[in-house]
């Protein structure tokens, strides 16, 4: 943004009194003052404590991506409870959600906070492998018994050590409004064929069968994940995510073919629609079903509208594979590699891995469900109870494509590829071939 400046000494633009040397010097003084302020506010204390040094009940810094009101308050409540149960102060550094994730590489290499929010899965293992996060296996010694094996696996790095302490998770499922189904006499489908048939019925009634939105690129991953798990099984899916299977294999081709059937009953123009807008079409009874995480509930008005919301698990496609895999991303915490207050960080993590912490958090933020075996589920709303049951009954839990796969692959390859597929389903074969070529380039060590 450059502009030419054509000098004109003959035409003074400001009366001399206004912009004179005094003003310049005055501005200079302000600048120096600001510089002083910047210097004061700038440097943090010298870093480099080992993870066992520090005061267990001293101040712990906490990096949080919970910039929304509700989760922010939930954390505040949790930390207040931590303090009153004997813990120290927690200094929260809140960064807005998207920026936190976008900057995570730089954040971890810089001087990160002692404890910070993050996600389970490959996304976590990636940083563990790079040596950017701290080993919390000793915390797991104490809290390990409170979580299922599936959760523990999701919290474990490739070297067998734990790097992650979970807080909550939420399942992805096909949501719908009870009243709409009842009014039309629909039954929640248990197989994909039933769902397609149901979709045709809805179409005849002028109801968009499957709400669908992929402007942000990631929502479509949910559909792919479930189709892949239902057709090829959980292990194949995880291997595909890990780069160990080929994207242009016949197994994946079947997934795309099946997806074509779903696209026929999905809302058109999905690439211009955000998931919030799609959810609102369900709330407004313009669409019948929506595959999304249970956070979709936030788009429904509290009260009758939200109570009307329910879901059924993603249907069976291949009866030999069944439907015992659930996509349920887990959110939780990790520790910095060299925290300022290592003892305090571990003390906090131990607390955060307790039922009390989860109860306190979920009391304020009721969009997710706890992972702790002994968490108090009595105060759950209907949706939470359903979600909890779904996850509890799952044999395997996946974390969502962008948390299970290499982050570069997920954002630079998967998102554009799925968007291309949605635009031109007939191109599935060439899209898959290109995905495989790029995957090879990205996943080589």
């Amino acid at each position: 943004m450059r502009k030419p400046m054509l000098p004109n000494p003959d035409e003074p633009v400001l009366p001399a009194a206004v912009f004179n040397r005094r003003l310049f010097l005055g501005a200079g003084a302000v600048a120096l003052g600001s510089i002083g302020l910047a210097a004061c506010g700038g440097s943090s204390s010298s870093g480099g404590g080992s993870s066992s040094s520090g005061n267990a009940t001293g101040t712990v810094t906490f990096g949080s991506n919970a910039s929304d009101d509700v989760p922010k308050k939930a954390f505040q409540a949790t930390f207040a409870a931590y303090k009153s149960s004997g813990g120290g102060d927690v200094k929260v550094n809140t960064v807005d959600h998207n920026t936190f994730q976008e900057q995570i590489n730089n954040y971890l290499q810089g001087r990160p906070d002692d404890v910070f929010t993050w996600f389970a899965g490959y996304r976590m293992r990636f940083f563990a492998k790079k040596g950017l996060v701290g080993d919390v296996s000793d915390v797991w010694q104490k809290i390990g018994g409170n979580f299922t094996d599936a959760i523990k696996t999701a919290s474990t790095g490739e070297d067998g050590k734990q790097y992650f302490v979970p807080l909550y998770n939420y399942p992805w499922a096909v949501h719908y409004r009870k009243s709409v189904f009842e009014a039309n006499g629909y039954q929640p489908p248990t197989t994909l064929d039933e769902m397609v048939t149901l979709g045709q019925q809805m179409k005849k009634k002028g109801l968009a069968p499957l709400a669908f939105a992929d402007k942000d690129g990631w929502p479509a991953m949910g559909t792919f994940d479930y189709l892949n798990m239902r057709i090829n099984g959980y292990d194949f899916h995880i291997n595909l995510m890990g780069g160990k299977e080929a994207w242009d294999s016949p197994k994946v081709a079947t997934v795309f073919d099946t997806w074509k059937r779903l696209l026929e009953i999905s809302q058109p123009n999905s690439l211009g629609r955000t998931w919030q807008e799609a959810a609102q079409t369900v709330a407004q009874k313009k669409a019948g079903m929506y595959l999304l995480g249970t956070f979709v509930g936030q788009q429904f008005a509290e009260g009758a509208e939200r109570d009307d919301l329910t879901f059924f698990p993603f249907p069976v496609v291949d009866s030999s594979v069944g439907a015992d895999a659930v996509e349920a991303p887990i959110d939780g915490f990790m520790m910095a590699k060299r925290p300022q207050n290592g003892a305090g960080a571990k003390h906090l993590l131990e607390y955060l891995g307790s039922a009390e912490a989860e109860n306190t958090y979920l009391a304020t933020d009721s969009n997710d469900v706890a992972v702790h075996k002994a968490a108090d589920t009595s105060k759950y709303n209907a949706l939470q109870k359903q979600a909890s049951a779904l996850i509890a009954g799952a044999k395997s839990i996946s974390q969502f494509l962008d948390r299970d796969a290499d982050p570069t692959f997920a954002s630079t390859v998967a998102i554009p590829a799925f968007q291309s597929f949605i635009k031109n389903p007939a191109d599935a074969a060439s899209i898959a071939k290109n995905m495989e070529a790029q995957k090879k380039s990205i996943y080589q060590s």
Partner: protein
Amino acid sequence: MTAVQTPPQAGPGTAPVRRRRRPVTRGRILLHAFLVITSLVFLFPLLYAVYTSLRPYAETAKYGYFSLPRSLTFANYTHAWQQSRVLHFLVNTLIIVVPSLVLILLLSSFVAFGLARFGVRGGKWLLIMFTAGNLLPQQILITPLYQAYRVWDDQNWVVAHGAFIYDTYWGVIAIHVAFQIGFCAFVLTNYMQTLPHELTEAALVDGAGAWRQYWSITMPLCRPPLAALAALEFTWIYNDFLWALVLMNTGDKRPITSALNNLRGEFFTDNNLLAAGSVIIVLPTVLVFVLLQKQFVGGLTLGANKG
């Protein structure tokens, strides 16, 4: 359009022409009408955003955004002000903008003075280097810059003295200064070249050294471009978000361009709230623009009586 009379130009050496009362011809009226319509078309998107910001969310959710107002409210503004903590982030921005501005003007005027008033061999190439640096896309610089900051911060003596630059205002100010010096140096060099040499010669005869010539003689004459540059640089630095995004860690320290993100919920986006937030955030630049409008617009021109 009918022909429009051009006013007689003053010849060199005569007094500047006084504005004549112009006849209100049909041509003039049409011209004004056209310009008014054009201006309204340009203002429209902004006005629509302001309109949206004044409407309560419940109303637009019910009737849609394109509807007549049933009630107007400032609630979005108070809400945006509090939730996005605009004042806090505005202070952050000022902590970045003001020192950057002063340093940029100072350093670029140094270079301009050195190059314009005193022969430096290869001065032109230096100027080209500065200008070209300004034309680079920011993305080219960002990763090595971040790594450089990080490596610096890892040095033992830096850690010992707490002289970090990552996640500090100083670090962001530094890159702003380096990035913008080029443009300002070029402008000021050109401007200083046109200053008559007699002034500095007189000073030389009086025995003034280089610094005196710079500070006491040349700089006061450079008010017009300095003012224009100050106005422009304020806008550019204010509106930047990439440097602070990458070179800072702490959410609370980031400048105002981040404040808008705080209003964008992870799950829920209230467009009316965002509109109010956007209006609040653009106000300082609009204010600077209005106050220094002559510098932005009129001050960048050559007088008609030159030549």
